[in-house]
C-alpha cells in the first residue's frame, strides 16, 4: 500500500537516503530496522510530509505523496507516533484523542456558537469513540487525567490511541519501545498485535532486533541510507550483510 521507489534524501552534502526502494504491503506488520543514524526516522518524516525528498517517488495507495501538506497526508490515512513522545501534556487523555478526530468533526461555526444539536451530537460521538480507543490500549480509567501524569509507557499507549483516532489505514510507529523496560515492551507488543488484528496495517521502525523479529511479517534493513536486505524474519536473521551491519565484520583468523 505504501511504495518507495528509488527515493533519495540529502541534507546539503550529507546523503541520508540513497536509492531506497521497498513496499509496505496491506495488512500485517512491516518493520524497518537498522543501526542508529541509518536514516530510519528520515523515512517517516518523508512519508508524513515534514521534509521533502530529493529524488524518487513515494506513493500511498496510488497517491503521490509529493508536496502534500502533513495534515492532508493524515487525511489520506497515514498516522504516526514519535520516537520522542509528543502527547499534548496539558490536555486530558480524552482531549488528546479527540484532537485526532479533528477532521471527522464536520460541524460549522453556527453549530459551535449556538450549541446546535449537530455540534452536540458530533462531540458526543467523538467522546464515545475516544473512550473506545482508550479502552483498546487499556487507559480508559484515566480518561480525565492530564497526559502529563502518565508514565512513559502509558504516554506511548496514549500516542497509539491518538494516532488511531485519525482513522488511519497505515499506522507508522517510530521506535515504539525505545526506553522501555522488558515488561512494558511485552505489554506494548501485545497492544500492537491487538491493533493489527483490528485490521490496521502497521509500519514500524526499530533497532531492537529481538523485538522486531518476534513481531514483523516483513522486514527491510537500512544501513547508511541504503536498503541492504528485505524479507521475512528468518531470512533477515541469517543474512550475512545484516549481521555485519549489527555486529561488525568477523576478522579472518
Amino acid at each position: 500500500m505504501l511504495q518507495f521507489d528509488h527515493v533519495s534524501k540529502n541534507f546539503g552534502g550529507l546523503q541520508v537516503l540513497q536509492d531506497v526502494s521497498f513496499s509496505v504491503p496491506q495488512g500485517g506488520i512491516f518493520g524497518l530496522i537498522g543501526p542508529n543514524g541509518a536514516g530510519k526516522t528520515t523515512v517517516f518524516n518523508l512519508i508524513t510530509g515534514l521534509i521533502r525528498k530529493s529524488g524518487g517517488a513515494i506513493t500511498f495507495n496510488g497517491n503521490a505523496l509529493d508536496g502534500v501538506a502533513p495534515h492532508k497526508i493524515t487525511r489520506l490515512g497515514i498516522a504516526r507516533t514519535f520516537q520522542n513522545i509528543r502527547v499534548f501534556k496539558e490536555m486530558t487523555l480524552l482531549q488528546n484523542v479527540v484532537v485526532g478526530m479533528h477532521d471527522q468533526l464536520d460541524y460549522g461555526v453556527a453549530g459551535v456558537l449556538l450549541n446546535l444539536a449537530s455540534f452536540r451530537q458530533a462531540e458526543e460521538r467523538a467522546r464515545e469513540r475516544a473512550l473506545e480507543l482508550l479502552s483498546w490500549v487499556r487507559l480508559e480509567h484515566k480518561a480525565h487525567a492530564l497526559a502529563d501524569s502518565l508514565s512513559y509507557g502509558e504516554q506511548r499507549k496514549l500516542e497509539f490511541a491518538r494516532a488511531l483516532a485519525t482513522n488511519p489505514k497505515l499506522l507508522l510507529l517510530d521506535e515504539p519501545v525505545a526506553g522501555m523496560n522488558p515488561s512494558e515492551k511485552t505489554e506494548l507488543m501485545a497492544e500492537m498485535i491487538n491493533i493489527k488484528q483490528r485490521g490496521f496495517s502497521i509500519f514500524l521502525i526499530e533497532h531492537d532486533m529481538r523485538f522486531v523479529m518476534g513481531l514483523c511479517d516483513q522486514i527491510a534493513v537500512l544501513n547508511f541510507g541504503k536498503i541492504i536486505a528485505q524479507g521475512g524474519p528468518d531470512e533477515i536473521k541469517n543474512n550475512p550483510e545484516v549481521i555485519e551491519a549489527y555486529l561488525g565484520k568477523e576478522e579472518a583468523a
Binding site: 508524513t48 495534515h71 497526508i73 493524515t74 499534548f88 496539558e90 479527540v98 460541524y107 450549541n115 485519525t166
Partner: protein
C-alpha cells in the same frame, strides 16, 4: 444615594469604561497566546479600529453600529494581509515582527493627512454607552467560551502544545494560526472603536509600544489558561492606579511592585484553575483530618 451615584459616575465612568475596553484587549491577546503565538500587534489593531470608527463618525452621517463594524472589519483585513507572511515566525521572532508592524502603523498615522497627523483626531462624538461595552464584552466572552469547547479551541491548544503533533493529527496549523490572529485583531479593533467614542480625542501615540506591552501584562497578570484570567487582570490593572491614588507620587512604583510580586509568586497569573483546585482540596483534606482527631 442617587446623588452620590451620579457624582461617582461622572468622575469614574471613563474608568469603568476602561475596565471593559481593557478586558477586550486582554482577551484579544489571550486568543493568540492560546494558539501559542506571541503577537504584540494588538495595540496597533486597536488603533486601526479606533481611527476607522472615529473617521466614519466624524466625516459621515453613518450610524454608530456601522462605525463599530468598520472598527472590526479593517483590522481583520490588515491582520489577514500581514498574518500570512509573519505567522510563519514563532516565539520572540514573531513578537519582534509584530512590534515592527505596530511601529509602521504608528509612524504612518503620524505622517498621513487624513488621520490628523501627530495631533490625532479631536472632537469624536461621544457615542459609546455603558451597555455597548457590556454587550460586546459579554458577546466576546460567550463566543470565546463556545470556541474553547469545540474542535477550534482544541486545535488552538494542540498547536500551542506541539505544532508538529497537531499537524499530523490533521490540523491545518497555518489556517488556525491565521484564524486566531484575525479574531484577535477583530476584538482589539472593536475595543479601539468603543474607546475612541468616549475619550473625545485619540492620537497615534496611544497605540504604540507601551500600550502593546500593557495589553500583554494584563493578560499574563490575570492568567492565560482561562477566559476569566485576562478579564480579571484587565479589571485589576485598570482599577489599581485609581485605588492607589492616595499614594500620590509613589503610585506607579507601588503599581510596579505589585506586578513584580504577582509574576514572582504566581507565575501562572492570578487566576490559575489548577492552583485554586489544589487549594480547596488541601482545605478539604485538612478539615476531614481535623474530624478524625
Amino acid at each position: 444615594m442617587a446623588e452620590w451615584w451620579e457624582g461617582f459616575w461622572l468622575t469614574y465612568n471613563t474608568v469603568v469604561y476602561g475596565v471593559g475596553v481593557n478586558a477586550l484587549l486582554a482577551l484579544s491577546i489571550y486568543l493568540t497566546l492560546s494558539c501559542g503565538l506571541l503577537s504584540m500587534a494588538n495595540a496597533a489593531f486597536m488603533g486601526i479600529g479606533a481611527y476607522a470608527a472615529a473617521l466614519i463618525s466624524m466625516q459621515t452621517d453613518l450610524s454608530f453600529p456601522v462605525a463599530l463594524a468598520a472598527s472590526a472589519a479593517l483590522p481583520a483585513l490588515v491582520a489577514m494581509l500581514i498574518g500570512i507572511p509573519t505567522l510563519r515566525l514563532s516565539g520572540v521572532y514573531l513578537a519582534m515582527a509584530t512590534l515592527g508592524f505596530g511601529e509602521v502603523v504608528r509612524v504612518s498615522v503620524i505622517n498621513l493627512e487624513f488621520t490628523g497627523g501627530p495631533m490625532g483626531l479631536n472632537g469624536i462624538p461621544p457615542k459609546t454607552e455603558f451597555w455597548h461595552i457590556v454587550l460586546i464584552l459579554a458577546l466576546t466572552l460567550y463566543c470565546l467560551a463556545r470556541l474553547r469547547r469545540s474542535k477550534i479551541g482544541r486545535a488552538f491548544e494542540a498547536i500551542k502544545e506541539d505544532e508538529i503533533a497537531a499537524r499530523l493529527m490533521g490540523v491545518n496549523v497555518a489556517r488556525y494560526k491565521l484564524l486566531a490572529f484575525v479574531l484577535g485583531a477583530i476584538i482589539a479593533g472593536l475595543a479601539g472603536g468603543l474607546n475612541a467614542h468616549y475619550t473625545f480625542t485619540i492620537g497615534p501615540n496611544n497605540y504604540g509600544f507601551d500600550h502593546a506591552v500593557d495589553i500583554l501584562t494584563m493578560a499574563v497578570f490575570g492568567g492565560t489558561s482561562t477566559l476569566i484570567g485576562p478579564t480579571l487582570g484587565a479589571a485589576i490593572l485598570t482599577l489599581l492606579p485609581e485605588a492607589l491614588r492616595d499614594l500620590n507620587n509613589y503610585r506607579l512604583a507601588v503599581n510596579g511592585l505589585i506586578l513584580i510580586l504577582v509574576i514572582l509568586y504566581l507565575p501562572q497569573g492570578l487566576w490559575d484553575p489548577r492552583r485554586i483546585r489544589a487549594f480547596w482540596q488541601k482545605r478539604r483534606e485538612q478539615r476531614t483530618a481535623g474530624k478524625v482527631i
